[in-house]
């Protein structure tokens, strides 16, 4: 055993396809921006897409924005549909996510790196910065985008990469395609359940089929709003107090009112800051308590005479969740009800001021519509390659339910769901796909080079990245 030789099955049969050129992959989303070097398995830089603003000062980075600062408003440069709305801030945010961890100018401290400085006194330093090298002078940049992003935003992104950051090469890839690549598929039906959007898109040979694009807002943030509605409707009402409000707490029995000492602020925190912090608690709740009814059938459908799946769900062990202020409670059937609206529009909890979801927005209907928009010959293949990605798809029971729903929809077809087992692979699916793509040797010929950009202008991205 001293010299272990490779047997024929272990030896690589063909050429190793990787050839890394230290490309950077940037995958912006609604809640977070992922950035890292192509060829690595997880993004090195994971930054919240929210940013704080005090007056004219912009604050980036998880450490900073989750700290209470008087008068800090929390904003997001990304639109609800995952397309950048505020390009000025988004550029800075992306720059922060790249420079803070990746490029060779390690950012020392967010307070002194110039990014968070007051623009007035930053002007002087900015000139100095521009005399230096540009941020990405030696790194090709692979950026992701949604399948429905506009021409304008695509052109803007190449413009920033080329003009502001001085990239030698650039590419814009669809995040659903990359998620399929991350699962090792070139042809797949990608179900991407993110924070602000659920999208179902068919992909053939690494290209999205435009007629099959389906998206709906019934994703992570919608679940949060469902949760808020649930907290308001249960007896007694659950008081959602974020962590930063609590100075100290004493343990109490389940269901008992909280006994905590709260922090007091001279200037009360802004509503947006509080909402962000509340969302963090809700995220925790979603991760640990919520479950999707795994099927078969819907939660409301009957299993026998006089009994429904709800009874089965009720009989399952509940889960306890302790709020930041110490109040805790057992969650039984309710934890199944929150996610049911993603599958069955009638089961969605009513939220004040929100339009109730329609049937077309539920996941089974979206899959149906997406498959309806592709050629008949492709459908069986797509159903055998259903790729599930996105952070919200990690809610327990999601894959089982998806499988159950698909079997009901297409009883004759063979259905195979590909969902990465690792949490990080599911959350960073599209980034990982970008990391694979960017490190491939055959991808070198695809890059849009600076020269091509100078020659054809920003519109080159429309011609090349399809």
């Amino acid at each position: 055993m001293a010299s272990q030789t490779m047997n024929s099955s272990m030896q690589p049969t063909d050429v190793y396809g990787g050839d890394e050129v230290s490309a950077i992959v940037l995958d912006p989303g609604y809640t977070s921006v992922r950035a890292g070097f192509a060829g690595e398995e997880v993004p090195k830089s994971f930054v919240s897409a929210h940013y704080g603003q005090i007056g004219d000062q912009l604050i980036f980075g998880d450490n900073e924005i989750h700290n209470y600062k008087p008068g800090m408003e929390i904003r997001n440069p990304m639109g609800k549909d995952g397309v950048v709305e505020d390009w000025d801030v988004a550029t800075k945010l992306f720059e922060y996510s790249i420079t803070s961890r990746l490029t060779r100018f390690p950012q020392s401290d967010p307070r002194s790196n110039g990014l968070n400085d007051d623009p007035k006194d930053a002007d002087v330093e900015m000139d100095a910065v521009e005399e230096q090298e540009k941020t990405l002078e030696e790194h090709p940049l692979l950026m992701t985008e949604t399948a429905w992003s506009t021409t304008k935003s695509r052109e803007k992104s190449i413009e920033i990469a080329m003009e502001n950051w001085g990239c030698p090469a650039f590419w814009l890839a669809r995040n659903s395609v990359l998620a399929a690549f991350a699962s090792g598929k070139a042809t797949a039906l990608v179900v991407d359940v993110g924070a602000s959007n659920v999208s179902v898109i068919s992909i053939h040979d690494g290209l999205i089929l435009k007629k099959s694009i389906q998206k709906s807002p019934l994703a992570g943030n919608w679940l949060s709003s469902q949760l808020r509605s649930l907290f308001g409707s249960v007896e007694p009402k659950v008081d959602l107090v974020p962590h930063f409000m609590v100075r100290s707490k004493t343990p109490v029995d389940a269901g008992a009112p909280a006994q905590a000492i709260y922090r007091e602020f001279k200037i009360p925190p802004t509503a947006s800051f509080r909402a962000l912090e509340e969302d963090r608690v809700l995220t925790e709740f979603k991760e640990s308590v919520i479950q999707v009814w795994p099927g078969p059938g819907r939660l409301s459908s009957g299993t026998g005479p006089g009994s429904t799946n709800e009874d089965v769900a009720r009989s399952q062990p509940g889960r306890v969740f302790e709020m930041p202020d110490g109040a805790n409670q057992m969650w039984g059937l309710e934890r199944f009800k929150v996610g049911e609206g993603m599958w069955d529009e009638k089961a969605a909890l009513p939220v004040a001021g929100e339009i109730p979801p329609t049937k077309a927005q539920t996941i089974p209907e979206m899959i149906k519509a997406s498959l309806g928009g592709v050629d008949m010959d492709l459908r069986p293949t797509l159903l055998q390659n259903v790729v599930v990605t996105g952070g919200t798809s990690l809610i327990s029971g999601f894959n089982d339910r998806l499988n159950a729903e698909l079997t009901v929809l297409y009883p004759g077809a063979r259905i195979k769901i590909q969902a990465a087992g690792l949490t990080s692979e599911r959350r960073f699916g599209s980034w990982i796909g970008g990391s694979i793509l960017g490190s491939l040797g055959t991808f070198h010929q695809m890059w849009i080079s600076k020269k091509e950009y100078d020659e054809f202008g920003a519109n080159v991205v429309e011609k090349r990245c399809k």
Binding site: D19, D375, M376, Y410, G412
Partner: protein
């Protein structure tokens, strides 16, 4: 029990040759051990313990291969698959120059400094789409359904998406160019409605173009096997059939679980039935073999004399001979079915059916059933040409030729020569009129077929003319008779009271001749009845 005991029992010499050698081997590694390992080893006494820690192996290897760390460098490179000269950089192991031949390397050094090309450039492959110029388009590729502009658009998409049809169909968004408005007020600005093209439409159009252009560049008869089959495949693309297939596939896709199960069970059933059928055929064959045994009935007294016995012997001999021959032929006859079974399920299925039906026919006659298959078996040994090959080589199949020498031209003249000389003359006249030579100039198979068709058409024509001639003469006769009769009537009226006998005679005459052909309608009826004599006869027979 040790081997020593066994040897003892069997009275074998106590020590065999291989034993000491083995002991030596075992004793070999022992002195090498040190420290604790040696102590542990010695605990086992003569029988060495199997557990010997050998942890040092990794360390040793590491120490042995200690070399200065390999040097890597960030090397710029180009990719020849790109049109621009994008220079990217990757980490490469620094090539170590062997120290000795430095002098020789001086000349080659500048070559090495040249920027390397990416090893992945070779993977840049593109599909070849047909290219045509305006002239070719006008002469060969015009279509009512497709404008040139749209065709160009389609070909462009095909090139762009490398023949991935689902994507081409998905991205297909042809906007017809808006016609220039200032060309004159006569051209009303009609915005042509954009057609929604199905994937089959696009495929049909593309394959048509590709096949045509392929044939233009390389005529069909000079194509290689692969090229020809590709050409044929593209030429025979049937959009309608493809659409139908997709519809079926969709129905199949939509079916419910119960339907799927039902189909599965039906398939199983079919398999079972086929298997049973096979068994039945086998049993039947056996039965027939038994039935063909010589019949041993008759009077035994016949064989009491020596001549009788002689006869019996001969009879048996002949039966034996015929049986032998039959059994051989039977074997041969069986072979295609056996081969067919080996080939594929489909052919074996049809073969079985044919065979079984064969048997069913032969049940009443109860004679050897397999005689028919003799020639088939012989044909089986020859190399089978596929359908495409037959078309390439121009192989065709004919009816069996009659025995004896014959000329091919006789075959083509036969339809003419078989007719009467008058008829022949007529046919020749028609051919002359059509300017077709009586003897074909280039009697290829296709021309022959066409000529035969022509001849049969001429025959029909001539028959028609004959009937027409007959009818016109009859009509002429009838009108003549009518005229004569009217004249007679006039005469009769003029004569006043004429004899009744004459009138009766005239009456009779009228009945005889004019009855079938006075009116045109009755004429038609008659001709119709000529055509359908068979049915008339049959009805008459039924009446009887």
């Amino acid at each position: 029990m040790t081997s020593h005991d066994v040897r003892d029992m069997l009275d074998l010499p106590g020590s065999a040759a291989p034993r000491p050698a083995k002991k030596q081997k075992l004793a070999g590694p022992r002195p090498n051990l040190k420290g604790l390992a040696r102590e542990v080893q010695s605990l086992g006494g003569d029988n060495p313990i199997a557990i010997v820690p050998e942890i040092s192996i990794f360390k040793k290897r590491r120490l042995a291969s200690r070399k200065p760390a390999a040097k890597w460098e960030l090397k710029p490179f180009k990719n020849s698959a790109r049109e621009d000269d994008l220079v990217l950089r990757h980490w490469k192991r620094k090539a170590e120059l062997p120290p000795a031949p430095v002098e020789e390397n001086v000349e080659t050094a500048p070559v090495e400094e040249e920027m390397e090309d990416s090893t992945f450039a070779k993977f840049n492959v593109k599909v070849n789409t047909p290219k045509y110029d305006d002239e070719q388009y006008r002469s060969r590729l015009e279509s009512d359904d497709w404008t040139k502009d749209e065709t160009d658009y389609l070909i462009g998409l095909v090139q762009e998406y490398d023949l991935r049809w689902p994507i081409i169909w998905d991205r297909y968004d042809y906007q017809p160019p808006v016609p220039a408005l200032d060309e004159g007020e006569g051209s009303i600005a009609i915005v042509p409605a954009t057609k929604t093209r199905s994937m089959e439409d696009m495929k049909a159009r593309y394959y048509k173009i590709a096949a045509t252009m392929m044939a233009i560049h390389n005529p069909v008869q000079f194509m290689g096997q692969a090229e020809f089959s590709l050409h044929e495949m593209m030429n025979n693309f049937d959009a309608k059939q493809e659409t139908k297939r997709k519809q079926f596939a969709e129905l199949n896709f939509r079916r419910s679980r119960e339907e799927a199960k039902e189909e599965e069970s039906l398939l199983l059933e079919l398999k079972r039935i086929l298997a049973r059928n096979d068994k039945l055929t086998e049993e039947r064959k056996e039965l027939y073999a038994r039935l063909e045994a010589p019949i041993s009935s008759g009077n035994l007294g016949l064989y009491s004399t020596s001549t009788g016995l002689q006869q019996l012997l001969q009879q048996l001999m002949t039966v034996d001979k015929s049986k032998k021959r039959k059994s051989i032929m039977g074997m041969e006859g069986m072979s295609p079915a056996v081969v067919g079974q080996g080939n594929s399920q489909q052919t074996s299925g049809s073969g079985d059916r044919r065979e079984s039906s064969n048997h069913r026919e032969s049940v009443p006659s109860s004679t050897a059933p397999n005689n028919k298959k003799g020639p088939q078996a012989a044909g089986n040994e020859r190399r089978k040409l596929t359908e495409e090959e037959e078309r390439v080589y121009g192989v065709s199949h004919h009816d069996r030729l009659p025995g004896g020498p014959q000329f091919r031209h006789e075959k083509i003249q036969k339809p003419i020569t078989s007719k009467s000389s008058v008829q022949q003359q007529k046919i020749n006249n028609v051919l002359a009129e059509l300017e077709v030579p009586i003897r074909l100039v280039m009697p290829t198979a296709d021309v022959g077929v066409q000529f035969e068709q022509l001849l049969s058409a001429i025959n029909t024509l001539l028959d028609g003319r004959k009937v027409a001639d007959k009818l016109t003469s009859e009509i002429a006769l009838a009108t003549e008779q009518k005229r004569l009769r009217e004249e007679k009537e006039k005469e009769n009226k003029e004569a006043g009271g004429a004899e009744g006998g004459a009138e009766v005679k005239v009456e009779e005459e009228r009945e005889k001749s004019a009855a079938p052909s006075v009116k045109a309608g009755s004429v038609h009826k008659r001709s119709a009845s000529v055509l359908s004599t068979v049915s008339d006869k049959s009805t008459k027979r039924q009446k009887k």
